[in-house]
Amino acid sequence: METIQLEIDGKKVEAERGTTLLQAARKAGIEIPTLCHDDRLAPFGACRLCLVEIDRGGRKRLVASCAYEVEDGLVVKTVTEKIVKIRRMIVELLLAEATTGPLEVLAEKYGLKGSRFKGDEPACFLCGLCVRYCAEVKKKDITCFIGRGIGREVAFPSDLARSACPLCRECLPLCPSGAWYSLYLKGYEGMPEEAGPRPGA
């Protein structure tokens, strides 16, 4: 593996070619917030919390560090005024959907007491961790996204759940919004006894 050098937040960092800015930063002890990232899964780039500023020959732009590969001599800033503003807005948008552990930590970090947006019922962040874990790690493709735009949802079709879900429950702790657990339970509604124990039982 070829090792290359770059600069993150003023710190010289070494990284292997083909790895991402997020991996390089974390290896160097620089924390970048994420909600949709998991090392076991392909980069998704959906939560946009991990945006960082890259500077290539004076041309600055924001990229998702979970998906952007390291480049030799790249200058990276993980915290700027603009980045903080963006992260704060993203957390505020999500706070209107649900308040859970990981989000509360982020809310406190960005000084948010609540959200200016009115929430309805606790909702899913659509980070896709459950969907992608099931597809990429378990190779099952049981949970899925349906719909698009503001009508996008995660679905756990009960017929698929009954016939193909291995009941590994590894998806349950991945969920940052808490919405997955109730959907998971719903997928088992009306299931016959012989299908096995209900999750949480």
Binding site: A46, L51, E97, G149
Partner: protein, 637 residues
């Protein structure tokens, strides 16, 4: 059909087609694009066939089905050759007269001609103001071609640019010609086409793809549709030339399933090109092999984004991915893929035939060639307009479009579709090119142009586009999905009179974050309709929020209808027309609208005789208390 095996065989084929045609023989070309079909074009065509048979003219006159001529407002259109007499709004009932008068006796049917505001009749299409100010490099051939007959395209010199590219030019020379021409992508972003081609050409790997993006989906836009429907070979020829320059052997056309005529005509065109050896192995007898497959899109607007489009062709959900490695380098199945819009490809044959210098002479310093716009909204002459880049908005809207149709004042023009913005009257002299539009806070986009008059509420316009995008975003990234959701709620609230102080600041803050943080171009431009209306029409937002007043009188929840007692003549017309039975009154008595029953449809205002003008639309002010039941009208005993 025998395959053509050389450039000279193509030439001979063309010569034979032309030799078999008598230029003096009468021919009716009928626009049967989607617009004219929708207003009865098919019946007119049927009537011509029947009438020609009835009058014993079979074999003496021709009828040609063509694609869109552009002047959709006055369709169905018929042009009678050789004199090129242009008839507008033709119905089946007009056909016997056209056949006996024009086809048999070469006399003009005056009543079907264009009539200018000065009352003067105009015989020829190109003298009608709508066409006179245009430069129809791409659209011009539509009126001469039956899209289901490749002979019509070849008769006009079709595929000669391909022959030139294959036999006279190297792929490098083709690439260089396109680069020198200054052609930029017509799909929205305006990326230099030659540079894009070069990236794919130079990218690592043997297998490369070229793609036509025909996923046009902007509200009110139908330029790509009309090019594909009316002149599919121009796109196919451009694609083959591009593929030759890039070194690709496979191509795709990604076209909306909702464009059935485009899909059908494209499919026929591809078959005919294959039959003639213009597609497939050893094109025109050369060493070059290339073929094209049609992929029908399932109707997702976001699939027009390049990485989403390619995911859809691969059979995955049409959803953008972070494009840090460009599709030009890693696109379809990870292979270098060059994607261009329909109109971009259609420009290529003309550039190869007429040269980069010819193309470069049209347009402005940074934006070369012509651009097609679909001119719609509150304008007299709606239709497809092709003008040189740099043409001022005023010429398009007034000289070509004929000005505002409603008799009201111009208020704004929306360009660039949902990613674009609204420009006010102060920008009417803006030359339309990529840079100028962007500086003004809008964009070229793919060429949608929606004209709005004073009766259009700009807050409601922003709300409309935000709603469109909130349904058409893929919903993957947080800023776009959640941002649009919140934006839509706030804007809906403002239009309904629930706007609060601070809403504007919050909207601006949201818009800024969406523009900077979203994953793809749909998200980064999604706030443009909001931000541009805030930039030019902030006072309208403030009126909605602070005074609960809609200055355009368009937001239903902020308006009330009121009958002014002093003006009411008790004619009963409004009371009888009200579908909600909300108007009370009798002969001689002032009519009164029951506000609790009124649905604000506005019929009372429309039907009240203008000499009375007794119905008023009120916004931002309380409705005067109703007069007592039975109050006698004034001026009558």
């Amino acid at each position: 059909m025998a395959k053509l095996r050389s450039a000279s065989e193509l030439k001979k084929f063309r010569k034979d087609i032309l030799a078999g045609r008598d230029p003096a023989r009468p021919c009716v070309t009928l626009c049967l694009g989607t617009g004219c079909l929708a207003c009865g074009g098919e019946q007119v065509h049927r009537a011509f066939i029947d009438e020609i048979a009835r009058q014993g003219l079979v074999g003496k006159v021709d009828v040609r089905r063509t694609g869109c001529h552009g002047f959709c407002e006055r369709g169905p259109l018929a042009v009678v050759f050789p004199r090129e007499i242009c008839y507008l709004k033709v119905t089946a009932a007009d056909v016997p007269e056209i056949v006996s008068e024009t086809l048999v006796h070469d006399r003009i049917v005056e009543r079907l001609l264009y009539q200018g505001d000065d009352g003067k009749k105009i015989v020829h299409e190109n003298e009608i103001p709508f066409y006179k100010h245009q430069s129809r490099v791409i659209l011009g051939a539509n009126r001469l071609i039956d899209p289901n007959r490749i002979e019509d395209y070849i008769a006009l010199g079709g595929y000669s640019a391909l022959a030139k590219a294959l036999f006279v030019m190297t792929p490098e020379e083709v690439l260089d010609e396109v680069k020198r021409s200054g052609l930029r992508g017509r799909g929205g972003a305006g990326f230099p086409t030659g540079k894009k081609w070069e990236t794919t050409r130079d990218a690592h790997g043997e297998t490369k793809y070229v793609v036509v993006n025909a996923d046009e989906g902007d509200p009110g836009a139908y330029m790509n549709r009309s090019v594909l429907e009316g002149n599919p070979h121009s796109v196919i020829e451009g694609l083959i030339i591009g593929a030759y320059a890039i070194g690709a052997r496979h191509g795709y056309v990604y076209v909306r399933q909702e464009y059935p005529l485009a899909v059908a005509n494209l499919t026929v065109a591809l078959e005919q090109a294959r039959d003639l050896g213009l597609l497939g192995d050893n094109i025109l007898g050369s060493d070059y092999c290339f073929d094209v497959a049609v992929h029908r899109g399932a109707g997702a607007f976001v699939s027009g984004e390049s990485s989403a489009l390619m995911a859809a062709i691969e059979g995955r959900v049409g959803e953008p991915r972070p494009k840090y490695v460009r599709t030009a380098i890693s696109g379809l199945w990870g292979k270098p893929t060059n994607l261009n819009n329909v109109e971009t490809w259609a420009n290529v044959p003309a550039i190869i035939n007429r040269g980069a210098d010819w193309f470069g002479d049209i347009g402005t310093a940074g934006s070369k060639g012509t651009k097609i716009f679909s001119l719609v909204g509150k304008v007299k002459n709606t239709g497809l307009v092709e003008v040189p880049m740099g043409t001022p908005l005023r010429r398009i809207i007034y000289d070509i479009g004929g000005g505002i149709s409603s008799g009201k004042e111009f208020k704004a023009v929306q360009t660039g579709g949902p990613s674009g913005g609204c420009l006010p009257a102060a920008h009417l002299d803006l030359p339309v090119d990529f840079e100028a539009l962007e500086r003004a806070g809008s964009m070229m986009g793919s060429g949608g142009m929606i004209v709005m008059d004073e009766g259009t509420c700009m807050v409601d316009t922003a709300r409309y586009f935000v709603q469109f995008l909130s349904e058409e975003s893929c919903g993957k990234c947080v800023p776009c999905r959640e941002g649009l959701k919140r934006m839509l709620r706030i804007l809906t609230g403002i239009c309904a009179g629930r706007g609060r102080p601070g809403d504007i600041d919050l909207l601006e803050e949201l818009g800024e974050v969406m523009s900077e943080a979203s994953l793809c171009a749909l998200g980064t431009t999604a706030a443009n309709p909001l931000l541009s209306t805030l930039r030019y029409f902030r006072d309208e937002y403030e009126a909605h929020i602070q005074e609960k007043r809609c200055p355009a009188g368009a937001c239903k929840e902020l308006i009330r209808y009121h009958i002014v007692p002093e003006k009411c003549q008790a004619c009963m017309i409004c009371a009888r027309s009200c579908p909600a039975a909300a108007i009370s009154g009798a002969k001689g008595q002032v009519h009164v609208i029951d506000q609790s029953k009124c649905t604000k449809c506005g019929v009372c205002l429309e039907v009240c005789p203008s000499r009375f003008a007794a119905v008023a639309k009120i916004s931002g002010k309380p409705v005067p208390a109703p007069v007592a039941a039975g109050t006698r009208i004034q001026g009558k005993k």
